[in-house]
Amino acid sequence: MTEQSVSGQPVSEQSVSGRRPLGLTPSQTVGPFLSLGLPWPDGGDVVAEGTDGAIRIGGVVRDGAGEVVPDALVETWQADPEGNFDHPDSAERSTFRGFGRCPTDGDGHWEIRTLKPGAVDGQAPHVDVSVFARGLLDRVVTRIYFPDEEAANAADPVLATVPADRRATLVATATAPAELRFDITLRGNDETVFFQV
C-alpha cells in the first residue's frame, strides 16, 4: 500500500509497516444527546420476536446517588448457543448477530431479546457489555453471567479474578421464565464490577 500521512500525527512518527505504532484516537463522552446518533429501531432485537429459545435480559442503570440514568446506552456482544460468533476469528462462523444496543428510557431501563450464549473458550456462558453515558469519559465494560450456570460460573477464569463479595453483581437474576434482570450500578453501594479491556 502507498504510505500516506495520517492527520494529527507527524510523518516522522508514522510507519505503515507497523514498526512504530500510530497514536490512538482518545475516547470522549457520548454526552447527553447520543439518541440522535446511536440507537437503532431494532437495536435490542439480537433475535427477532418469536425466535425459538429467545430470552429477555434487561435492567436499570443507576448512578452513585441511586438515581436512575435515563441517558445511557447499553451495548451487548455474545456468542450464539454453540459458542460461536459472527466473526472470522470464530472457529466456526455463526450467522447470529450477537450484538444488541438499547438506550435507557426515562426510568433508566434497557432490555434486549437474545439467545443464551454457549460456553466460550473454557469460560462460562457470558455476555460482554459496554455502557456509555454523559459523565463517562470512556465506556465502562462489564459481563453478564447466568444464574443457572452455577458450576460453570464457579470454574470461570474471569469470575475467579473478581473478589468473591462482588461477583454477584455480574450474575443476572431470573425473574420469570426466559426473563433475566441485570441492573448496572455505575458507582457506590453494590457498584457493578467493571473490567479493563
Binding site: 494529527g8 505503515v16 470522549q28 440522535l36 479491556v197
Partner: protein, 240 residues
C-alpha cells in the same frame, strides 16, 4: 477442539484515554465507578465484535444536509478521513456513526433547551461505511459551539460525535472530532480530560483544501486510529 487463540489487542498507552474520575467534568462525580477496573485478558469474546457495515446505512445517512425538505442553515462542510489501527492497517467496511449540534449550537433533542434556534432542516445524525482502504466521508454543516452548565460561562468547543466499532469488542470507540484553532479548547474539561497533549491534538481535524468543492463546500480531514493487535516479539518486520 483446540485452536490458536487470536492475538490480543495492545493496551492503550498511558495518557491516551481520559480517566473516568475527572472532577473538572462535574457529571463524572456520580457516574464514574469508584472501584478500579479488573483487568480482563482478551479471549474470543473480546477479540471478536460486530462487523457492522452497509446494511446499517440509509439513503441520506451520508449527507446530513439532505435529510429534510430544505437545506439547513450553516456552512456546508465535507468531513473525511481514514479509519486505521495503530499498526497503520486500514479498517475497511466498518460503520462510522456521527451526531452533532446544528449551526447555532443546538441539538435537535428534547433535553437541549438553551435559547438558540432549532433548524427544521437539520437533525444532526449520520452513518457511513469505510471503503476498502478505510476511507470515510460525509457532508454536513459546521456545528456551532454551545454553553453548558458545567461551570460558570462554560462553552463546549464545536465538535462532531463519532462512534466506531472496528472488528473487535476491544476496538469500540466513541469520541469527538474538533475543529482547528478553536479558542474554546483551554476552558473545556472534556477536551482537556485527555492527559497527553499530543493525544488531545489527535482529536482536532485539519482544514483540507484538496477536499473542498468549488462553489459548494469547505472540507476538514480527520483520521481515526483504533487499537491494533499485539505482535509476537519474534515476528519479522514486513511491508504491507
Amino acid at each position: 477442539m483446540t485452536r490458536a487463540r487470536p492475538a490480543p489487542f495492545t493496551p492503550p498507552p498511558d495518557g491516551t484515554h481520559p480517566p473516568l474520575d475527572y472532577a473538572a467534568y462535574r457529571s463524572t462525580g456520580l457516574r464514574a465507578p469508584s472501584q478500579p477496573p479488573i483487568v480482563l485478558p482478551h479471549r474470543l469474546t473480546e477479540v471478536t465484535g460486530p462487523l457492522l457495515g452497509a446494511e446499517r446505512i440509509g439513503p441520506s445517512d451520508h449527507d446530513l444536509t439532505a435529510q429534510h425538505a430544505g437545506e439547513p442553515i450553516g456552512q456546508r462542510i465535507i468531513v473525511s478521513g481514514r479509519v486505521l489501527d495503530s499498526d497503520g492497517r486500514p479498517v475497511p467496511d466498518t460503520l462510522v456513526e456521527v451526531w452533532q449540534a446544528n449551526a447555532a449550537g443546538r441539538y435537535a433533542h428534547a433535553r437541549d433547551n438553551w435559547p438558540a434556534p432549532l433548524d427544521p432542516n437539520f437533525t444532526g445524525g449520520g452513518r457511513v461505511v469505510t471503503d476498502s482502504s478505510g476511507n470515510y466521508s460525509f457532508t454536513t454543516i459546521r456545528p456551532g459551539a454551545y454553553p453548558w452548565g458545567n461551570h460558570h460561562n462554560a462553552w463546549r468547543p464545536a465538535h462532531i460525535h463519532f462512534s466506531l466499532f472496528g472488528t473487535a469488542f476491544t476496538q469500540r470507540l466513541v469520541t469527538q472530532m474538533y475543529f482547528p484553532d478553536d479558542p474554546l479548547f483551554d476552558q473545556d474539561p472534556i477536551f482537556n480530560s485527555v492527559p497527553d497533549p499530543k493525544a488531545r491534538e489527535r482529536m482536532i481535524s485539519r482544514f483540507d483544501l484538496d477536499a473542498t468543492r468549488a462553489e459548494w463546500a469547505l472540507a476538514f480531514r480527520w483520521d481515526i486510529v483504533l487499537r491494533g493487535r499485539e505482535q509476537t516479539p519474534f515476528e519479522e518486520p514486513h511491508d504491507d
